[in-house]
Symmetry: C2
Subunit: 213 residues, 2 copies
Amino acid sequence: MVAGMLSRRHVNPTRSGRPRSAAADTAILLATRAALVELGWSKLSMGDVAARAGVAKTTLYRRWASKNELVVDAVAVIFDEIEIHDRGSLTADIEGVVLQFAALLDRPETKTALMAVVAESTRDDALRDRIRTAIVDRQKGLVLKGRERAQARGELAYESDPGTAARNADLIFDVIAGAVVHRTLVSAEAVDEDWARGFTMLLVGGLAAIQGS
Amino acid sequence: MVAGMLSRRHVNPTRSGRPRSAAADTAILLATRAALVELGWSKLSMGDVAARAGVAKTTLYRRWASKNELVVDAVAVIFDEIEIHDRGSLTADIEGVVLQFAALLDRPETKTALMAVVAESTRDDALRDRIRTAIVDRQKGLVLKGRERAQARGELAYESDPGTAARNADLIFDVIAGAVVHRTLVSAEAVDEDWARGFTMLLVGGLAAIQGS
DNA sequence: GTCTTTCGCTACGGATCGTAGCGTAACCGC
DNA sequence: GCGGTTACGCTACGATCCGTAGCGAAAGAC
């Protein structure tokens, strides 16, 4: 489990004594997400989370050093839900990922938490690293997998230079995730199938242009 | 001035008595940006801002109801700096806007504040409206202007249906702003000229594909 | 059974919030 | 000038939340 893995920082390496309650971990993370939905980020208090989870506030601080890290772990799990299925074509694959990602961002706890954590990460390097490993890197894998499939189908050319290949993957990742996030959170409009279709058309058309160069 | 305009909500409509100090307005907004750079969002306190601005804390609360609204106003001004100059081609215009936007997001106060405010806006409709009018709508104008120029040059076709025209403009806006923001804040990598060139190539290529449909 | 660690609980100092009350300062109309 | 009106700075306050410390009890490891 991701959250457990990440929260084990302050744990004693020697395996003796009373073990930590795994149930408490999941209860805390669940309570955190629930509290985010109801209260939002700024009004979320550690005491409230502890009360909801049915644990003592001190237990909470024994596992997470700050509110930021707690929220990152609480939200990271959600992003594991996205999977890239082979739908037969690059266009269909992209549309699928876009809609899945949009569905995730449609949940109140996700949108609130993700943006709040990103905001804090602009001033906290450790937090940014945590976000990178817990969320971003894993999602970038989806782009790589989708490209692989498209190349196997002959829809995309194999990039000869590994440098440009990596740069293109990063670019595509930022365009997809960025556009969906911006549409959902800043423009505050729905990512429906029509939008996904239009966006995918734009992206696939652009990919052809990039490959030509 | 935008900030002043927006902060006049609680002011008495009758024009009598001692007027509000315009200097205090600018001093407060300046202090807010400075505090954001040094402290970040979560550790920003109203008392600290007041002290930096050389005003009483009560004065601050007389003008802004919450920390959120204050920060929106403090940051909104920055986004007015972006202008879209005619650089002769659609590609050059887009690259210019991308680099300007990236330069803005490179400032510590902008990245921190923008994301924090967006995060809060996911739970606060009034705040979202404020963001929309203060920041988003104005930027969307840049897209419209750029398209107009490209159409005049013959680089883009005139959309016959006003509905699709509006949808396309929104799409392009979300793609540009979203990709730049995501690259800068989530991926945490620089938007340099190389990246801008690659992104623009992708976008312009995609636009051609969209127009064909 | 003993040892070790976590647990829940209570209590605490410190910081910040947002508001109220007061006397003073600045501008308006007469 | 001179009341009327509003903004200002200042102080003080209750309320809330933070993060930590100290305690006895519980739960496994050996």
